[in-house]
């Protein structure tokens, strides 16, 4: 399964872009509101057709304006989680999920209960949407979208209407779920950090045009893409497993090359997290530093050095399978004689990783 999209349009907002999402891949469309990302999603779903557009999914043409092909929305195999979930208010959670099932599903009732269990809502089947919290409604909406057995899953700012704690739990659940999903997932968001935590590929859009597209790690290390999003903070993700909660309020996590300590992380021992590390908070050292207040010192290998504009450079460090970015000055890089393939040490202050940077 894969999805390819291209469009050129003037109204309602100018759009001129193309992208492709592959099987099992999460592609994030990132941009400010009014950038055209929701219009793209609506075009894929069949709720809108721009003047010139083409949508192909799993070999089938859903939309080709040039030859007048426009498959109606209900004949496209799409699963959509709407921004405000758009659950049917007169149906229970179970009925909502059942309503999206293809007619080939034989025991719809038990299949719906299975889906609700998979999104961690086993006991809410008979509740109406009004009796569910925002996070629970989002889970029902996700179960309903997946119950359709879609060829592509479309998520329209699905985490914007819940509080931060719920949002992070939902992120973790989506990450856990996505390894079972074979269809491409298109996530629309204005939150770069969210895209970074969830997506394999990113398309950064501004006023209907692509600023940058490619693998998440690459896009996130492109200062131009960050500027377009109004972000000054370059960041990367470091995979770590919670190993202990210490008495002094710190949590010990194990990374590929050693332990780190962060302010108390609300996750059980054994949970694997992705820690968001801000590039300008990373200090590099050739030798392993001693007599330092910073506790987190991880061996790393220089993978790439990218010069940006101005006095800074971005050093890409390999730590296990992760790529961590460090923003240092050009002068420091020269003085340290950093070179590709060279081992070094990355120093990170515990307190520099704020709690909301820790995501499942």
């Amino acid at each position: 399964m894969s999805l390819s999209f291209s469009a050129k349009a003037i109204a309602p907002i100018p759009i001129d872009l193309a992208f492709e999402a592959k099987e099992g891949e999460v592609l994030a469309l990132v941009g400010h509101s009014g950038s055209g990302k929701t219009t793209i999603l609506r075009t894929i779903a069949g709720l809108w057709a721009p003047q010139n557009a083409e949508v192909q999914c799993s070999g089938a043409t859903w939309l080709r304006t040039a030859s007048g092909v426009d498959v109606p929305a209900h004949r496209r195999r799409v699963g959509v989680v709407f921004q405000n979930y758009a659950l049917f208010p007169h149906m229970t959670a179970k009925q909502n999920v059942m309503s999206a099932m293809p007619s080939t599903v034989r025991d719809k009732s038990s299949a719906a209960l299975d889906w609700l269990a998979r999104v961690n809502l086993p006991d809410m089947a008979e509740r109406k949407p009004a009796e569910l919290s925002g996070g629970q409604q989002q889970r029902v909406a996700l179960a309903r979208a997946l119950a359709r057995a879609p060829d592509v899953l479309l998520l329209d700012e699905p985490f914007s209407a819940v509080d931060r704690v719920t949002r992070e739990r939902l992120h973790a659940e989506l990450i856990a779920l996505r390894s079972d999903l074979s269809m491409p997932v298109i996530l629309v968001t204005h939150d770069m950090a969210e895209a970074q935590a969830l997506a394999d590929q990113m398309v950064v859009i501004d006023q209907g045009r692509v600023i940058r597209q490619g693998p998440t790690a690459e896009v996130m290390s492109d200062p131009a893409a960050l500027r377009a999003m109004g972000l000054r903070d370059l960041a990367s993700l470091l995979t770590a497993r919670v190993s202990a909660h210490d008495d002094d309020g710190l949590t010990q996590l194990e990374t590929a090359t050693g332990p780190i300590w962060l302010p108390r992380v609300k996750a059980e021992v054994g949970t694997t997290l992705r820690v968001r590390v801000l590039a300008h908070e990373v200090i590099l050292s050739r030798a392993r530093p001693e007599g330092l207040s910073a506790q987190n010192i991880l061996p790393a290998v220089v993978d790439r050095i990218v010069s940006g504009e101005g006095p800074g450079v971005i050093v890409h460090l390999a730590i296990g399978g992760d790529e961590v970015l460090a923003r240092i000055t050009r002068r420091a890089a020269r003085d340290l004689e950093l070179a590709v393939g060279q081992p070094c040490h990355m120093v990170l202050k515990s307190m520099s990783v704020a709690r909301d940077h820790v995501r499942g």
Binding site: A45, A73, R77, V80, F88, P89, H90, S99
Partner: protein
């Protein structure tokens, strides 16, 4: 008490509701969700019975449904009897003059179904027909019910148009409202009082039922 007239009124109101329901659903939905050329003109035409004096409206119906007009002649040739001054003619007139009372609330009812809910129905694979039955109608139901109750109550009470199109033929076109008028003309105030009271009772009952049902629907949806 003219039971024949009361029964005739109830029959007329019942048939009007039954025939008007599909028209109301289709037109209310189209007006709520679609924009097309001449929509404003169409809405104005539908509203016309609200502002026209019943006698004026009845006069035009008499002309259109009577002999020498296409509809009247067609009816005469097909069924071998005139359309005006018959129960069938009365039903047709009743359906037409109730259009604004039915379509307005129905349109509001369909407009109350949020766009993203309707889009979600399509994205769940529901055909437009399934979406109408399983999502739109259950949610637009309060509006549709108001439409039907207003139609029913309004038909029971309509006087001018019924008199113009139907006359006052006992058992055929003499409704309760006309029977009351006839009683008063004959100085039978007691008879008129009883029938009026019955009509008030029926109207109160209908509206009471509506409030009860819509309160229940409201609870179900909120």
């Amino acid at each position: 008490m003219d039971w024949t007239a009361l029964l005739l009124s109830l029959r007329l109101a019942g048939w009007t509701v039954v025939l008007l329901l599909p028209v109301t659903v289709i037109m209310g939905r189209v007006l709520a969700y679609q924009s097309f050329r001449g929509k404003g003109l169409f809405e104005t035409l539908v509203m016309l019975p609200l502002v026209l004096p019943p006698t004026v409206f009845g006069y035009y119906l008499l002309v259109v449904l009577g002999r020498g007009a296409p509809i009247g002649d067609f009816w005469q040739q097909t069924f071998g009897q005139p359309l005006v001054f018959s129960f069938e003619g009365l039903v047709l007139a009743s359906v037409i003059f109730n259009l604004p009372f039915a379509i307005q609330p129905a349109q509001r009812g369909f407009e109350a179904v949020p766009q993203d809910i309707r889009e979600a129905a399509a994205c769940c694979g529901m055909s437009p027909w399934r979406s109408l039955l399983q999502v739109e109608l259950p949610l637009a139901w309060p509006g549709l019910m108001t439409a039907m109750v207003l139609t029913f109550a309004h038909t029971l009470g309509e006087f001018g148009i019924v008199l113009m199109v139907g006359g006052s033929i006992p058992g055929e076109t003499r409704t309760i409202a006309i029977a009351i008028y006839d009683r008063v003309q004959a100085f039978d105030y007691d008879g008129a009082a009883v029938m009026s009271a019955v009509l008030v009772g029926i109207s109160l009952f209908t509206i009471g039922i509506t409030y009860l049902l819509s309160a229940r629907v409201g609870r179900r949806l909120s």
